[in-house]
Amino acid sequence: MGFANIVIGPIIIALIFGFIIGTRLHLKEEKSFKFTAGAIVALIVGGFIMAFDIGQFAIYQDFPIATVFFAAIIGVLIGSALLGGRAKGDH
C-alpha cells in the first residue's frame, strides 16, 4: 500500500471523463448562482472525505481512498475551469 502501487489507468480515465463533463459545467451562471472559490475548496475537501469513506475498489487495495472518485471531481473542476465558461450551450 502506498503511492508507488497506485493503479494509474482508471485515475487517468476518470480525469478524462470528468474533464469531458466539466467542459459543459458553468460555475458562474448569471441567471441563477455563482460558485465561489471557497465553495470549490469546500467541495474538494468534502470530496476527499467522501473518497476516504468510500474506500478503494474491491480488489485494488492500493490506497485507502477512492482515487477514481476523487480524480473524477478534480477532472470536472479542471474541465469547468478551462472550458466551462466558454462552452456555448443551446438547450
Binding site: 459543459r24 460558485f35 471531481i73
Partner: protein, 168 residues
C-alpha cells in the same frame, strides 16, 4: 389541463435558496460517483448503464432546480450527438476488433482468455489495472457515455416541449 392542477415549470427559476446553493455541489458529487460506478463496473456492482444514469441524474437534478435556461450543466445538441456517436462507435469497433482478430464478435481481445490473439495485440486492448479485464471496462465506458447523454437528452427535450407550449 385540469383546473387547479399545475405541472412543474422547468423554465422558471423559482427554487428556494437552499436548493440553489446545495444542488450544484451535490450534482458534481453525483457525477463523480457515476464515473466511479462506470469504471468499477467490471469488479463491483454497477456498470455503464448504472453509472450513466447517475450522471444523467445529476444533470436532471440541475435542470429541475435551476430551470432549463439557468442550469449550470448545459449540454448542447452537438455535444449530445457527438458523445452518443462516440459511445456507439466505440462499442461497435470493439466488437468488430474481436470479429476481425478471432472470428467472434465482441471477443475479449484484451483479456484473451482462450489465447486466440497475439500477446502484442492483446496488450493494446488491455485495461490498465490489476484485474486484466480486457475490453470489458471500455465497453462500460462506451455504454456509460451513451446512457448519460441519452437520458439527459430525453429530459432536456421534455423541458423544451414545455417551453414551446408556453410560447404558443
Amino acid at each position: 389541463m385540469a383546473e387547479g392542477k399545475k405541472s412543474p415549470n422547468w423554465n422558471k427559476n423559482d427554487s428556494s435558496p437552499i436548493l440553489k446553493i446545495m444542488t450544484l455541489p451535490i450534482a458534481i458529487i453525483m457525477i463523480a460517483l457515476g464515473i466511479m460506478t462506470i469504471l468499477g463496473g467490471h469488479i463491483t456492482p454497477g456498470g455503464g448503464f448504472q453509472g450513466g444514469a447517475m450522471i444523467a441524474g445529476a444533470i436532471i437534478f440541475c435542470v429541475i432546480i435551476y430551470g432549463v435556461d439557468g442550469s449550470p450543466l448545459k449540454l448542447s445538441h452537438r455535444f449530445i450527438s457527438t458523445l452518443e456517436s462516440v459511445g456507439a462507435l466505440a462499442y461497435v469497433l470493439l466488437g468488430l476488433a474481436g470479429l476481425a482478430l478471432t472470428g467472434s464478435f465482441l471477443y475479449n481481445v484484451g483479456g484473451n482468455l482462450y489465447g486466440l490473439v497475439p500477446p502484442a495485440m492483446a496488450a493494446i486492448f488491455s485495461y490498465p489495472d490489476v484485474t486484466h479485464a480486457g475490453i470489458v471496462p471500455y465497453l462500460n465506458i462506451a455504454v456509460g457515455l451513451k446512457v448519460f447523454v441519452g437520458l439527459s437528452a430525453v429530459v432536456i427535450a421534455f423541458s423544451q416541449f414545455k417551453k414551446l407550449a408556453e410560447e404558443e
